[in-house]
Amino acid sequence: MIARAARRRTATPPPAGGGPVPARPLPWLLPVLLFVGLFYLWPIVDALRLAFTDASLLDRDAAFSTEAIGAMLGSPALGTVLRNTAIFTLGSVVGQILLGLAIALLVVRGERNGLRGMLVMRTLVLAAWVIPGIANGIIWQMLFSEAPFGAINSALRLAGLPPVAWLSDPGNAMMSAIIATVWQGTAYSMILLYAALRSIDDTLYEAAAVDAATPWERFRFITLPELRGALLVNAILIVIMTLNTFDVIISLTGGGPGRATEVLALFTYNTVFYNFDLAGGSVLSILLMAISLALAALVAAFLPRAGRR
């Protein structure tokens, strides 16, 4: 029955091609192309050009050079930084998607059953999101503070538990950075998944109810497949945002202790703003772009299957 309901749905929707009118997309795309060209492509071309120079913030004359590329890619710190980036991105993205999905499911269920407090829940998650990134870092720094009067640690002590070295232990520091990032970023996943959940056809669930499907079966055979597209788009967007994020880290740990939480975006920032090394920074940002592209392509490889529905 569930299967039939799903099939019925696949039968109606659109043929993959265009409508009856022959497609002339250019006028439709023009505004976007103009903006992207002027404010993205042009600066990117310029950044690419800078990567092949010895440009510095301190003087405007730059000569051709491939030294920056060698120096940046050969930097002994790069390995650590890439490993940090991988852990940070994986942890933050998985955390944001799981929490975002959980909250969206709860809120949708709550609203269907007329439970109170769902608007409050949604608003709370959103409140975290609209707090500026640097302020977010400051708040969590106070919460994680390891001083005897630090918020979480003093609460732990009241509960008779030992304090935790949230920020001074290299391993914990990364976990703390991920928690703060997830706290702030979950709202984005929640909104996307919430909208997707709300647009799932009710008749699918009605059919499932007739079949007496368990909640798990409903989730596994209706909700998840229907959410697949939204989940993948969401994943791509969050991966990109997380890779480029450093404002929370910069105010929470500054990348420390040592280099324990220094991610590629922060490393790039330091290269430009401590070393004034515009060429090196350009090389690193292009590396960042390449990694984002590769990851997005990897996630997108799952998209066609979702699109078939």
């Binding site: 749905r9 659109p14 265009g18 409508g19 009118v21 497609a23 795309l29 505004p31 976007v32 903006f35 992207v36 002027l38 404010f39 993205y40 990117i44 310029d46 950044a47 913030l57 959980a102 909250i103 709860l106 709550g110 059953n113 439970l115 608007l119 829940m121 709370l124 959103l126 409140a127 975290a128 609209v130 707090i131 500026p132 990134g133 640097i134 302020a135 400051i138 708040i139 106070m142 919460l143 009067f149 630090g150 003093s154 706290w183 909104i191 996307l192 709300r198 647009s199 056809d201 788009v233 967007l237 990109i240 890779l243 480029n244 790039t268 940002s285 984002s292 592209l293 997005a296 997108a300």
Partner: protein, 280 residues
């Protein structure tokens, strides 16, 4: 009967899961509020003074009576809304084309638009600064808005494409039979049907724009033109006094307007969703 007992259990479980999650999101905000209500002397007393012994509204008063603060708020409203409206206006036709038309290079173009999002703002910022200088747009809200628009475009294109995908074509085909042109169909049929999606894209943009820091920071050096996201850091740090409590109050004041707008518009979205226009 069985149904209702089951759903009562389900409701209990929903709350059991929702409460710890809500706590996770609530506690830092409560902490912020607690700090904002403290006197400088109590700021350093930590969790022991979660409820301040001498709560004070002086911090809020100081932030709100600061003439500059209202100006910063106004700048933020202006930049965030104009930028969001611009991004949605530019992205909507493109998303429609991506959703409804098939043409050569479409997948590549879509990935390309997403790819530009992957460029770290850090480094294109300096080429961008020099470029905006040449265009004569530095130090203006117009130039800053243009950058907000372009920052919002990639995500908006993707969001709206997903939205348009969900709008049934049958209605458009009917309109075409009635002799409506493609653009008119888009404006009069598709866009109203996709209103909830468009609204959420708009709000998403407003919120993302509200916390923009790097763009206005680099584009605008005159304090009077700053949005609140940049100005807020004036309350962080001073040589002769502690300002944590002021920063906390400023953060809350900065966040409240977006929250009000969001809560207000969120009902609109939910209402439109449940009205059933979108159901396919």
């Amino acid at each position: 009967m069985i149904q209702s007992r089951r759903s009562r259990w389900g409701n209990a479980l929903t709350y059991a899961a929702a409460i710890p999650l809500a706590a996770f999101f609530l506690i830092p905000v409560i902490w912020l509020l607690s700090l904002a209500l403290r006197t400088p002397a109590e700021v350093f007393l930590g969790a022991a003074r979660l409820v301040p012994e001498e709560p004070t509204l002086a911090n809020f008063r100081q932030v709100l009576t600061d003439g500059g603060f209202r100006l910063y708020l106004w700048n933020s409203v202006k930049l965030a809304f104009l930028g969001a409206a611009g991004a949605v206006a530019c992205a909507a036709p493109a998303s429609y084309a991506f959703s409804r038309m098939s043409f050569r290079g479409k997948p590549a173009l879509m990935m390309g638009i997403l790819a530009v999002q992957m460029v770290s703002g850090l480094v294109i910022l300096i080429p961008l600064y020099r470029w905006m200088d040449r265009l004569g747009l530095l130090e203006t809200h117009a130039g800053t808005t243009l950058l907000y628009v372009s920052a919002g475009i990639p995500v908006t294109v993707w969001l709206l494409k997903t939205t348009f995908d969900g709008v049934p074509r049958e209605l458009e085909e009917a309109a075409a039979i009635d002799g409506l042109g493609r653009f008119e169909t888009f404006l009069r049929i598709t866009l109203p049907l996709a209103a909830p999606g468009v609204a959420s894209a708009l709000i998403l943009n407003v919120i993302l724009n509200w916390s923009q820091f790097l763009i206005p920071f680099v584009m605008l050096s005159e304090t009077a033109k700053w949005p609140i996201s940049v100005a807020i850091f004036n309350y962080a740090g001073a040589t002769n006094a502690t300002t944590t409590q002021l920063l906390a109050a400023a953060c809350l004041v900065a966040v409240v307007p977006t929250l009000i707008i969001f809560v207000a518009l969120q009902r609109l979205i939910v209402g439109a969703l449940t009205a059933g226009a979108v159901k396919g």
